[in-house]
Symmetry: C2
Subunit: 129 residues, 2 copies
DNA sequence: TAAGTGTTACATTTGATATAATACACTTAA
DNA sequence: TTAAGTGTATTATATCAAATGTAACACTTA
């Protein structure tokens, strides 16, 4: 387990994708899953960068992206906080789910696999909740 | 419609992903869907490169990847041909489908969405076969 | 032999990513 | 008032994958 816990957030980074994107996704998932209280303060840019051994600019980029989703609110001089609006979280969660579903259906259609076959395949996959 | 037809193959390229990967995927899909006869000759590297306005090396990379899947067989001096072994095509198709399903389930789990909710979402998506 | 194939090998360019270092702006608490 | 802790911005640099440009080589077929 080469994952790093920083405050309420857990990170496991690799080289498969841009680092700023992975940081963004980890935090976004933590929020969407409800694994952290709304209103919680994120680690400071410098702190997270130091603990993940990343450049502050890289973390900044992830945080700004979160702000753009309105999943966080940044208060200059204070820090970046998870939104307290549960509705926003729910909307983002639904949007991400919808994106995933659409991308998935698209892949299956591209392969020429029909709906019922897709549903069968889905049933074959273990789903440890 | 900014897609380009070259022989039996249709391509629509953008900047979202590496070009060689898009070329690979288009051809792979065409084969997997059964939209082209087994044994068919692919456009020559130079020809496809010219028509798609790509560098021959970029097309080469896609073709070599296809060979690695055994979806094509390359005969030096003759060209690159789609395999005549339908079983190979079927195996690759299943492998790709499986990958897609696993990736999808993983996304949904990361969002904290359970199986039945996922199945419901899937039903909401239009599926023009 | 010539034309059409795939193949290989460079050098080069480009763009995204990431780092490094520094300075600035704001908030909070000592 | 000050110091420490926040986010923010800027500029330069480094790195890597992707893509291009160019050229040559090897093989097959007509």
């Amino acid at each position: 387990m080469d994952s790093i816990q920083v405050g309420d957030f857990k990170f496991r980074l690799d080289l498969s994708k841009p680092l700023y994107e992975q940081v963004l996704q980890h935090i976004r998932q933590t929020i969407a899953r409800g694994d952290v209280l709304l209103g919680t303060k994120l680690p400071s840019v410098r702190d997270l960068a130091h603990q993940l051994k990343l450049n502050p600019n890289t973390v900044m980029r992830a945080y700004q992206e979160l702000d753009r989703y309105h999943l966080t609110e940044t208060r200059r001089g204070q820090g970046t906080f998870i939104t307290s609006d549960s509705e926003t979280v729910e909307l983002v969660k639904k949007a991400l789910a919808r994106e995933a579903v659409i991308a998935f259906v698209s892949s299956m259609k591209n392969l020429g696999i029909d709906r019922s076959t897709t549903e069968s395949l889905l049933k074959e996959v273990a789903w440890h909740e």
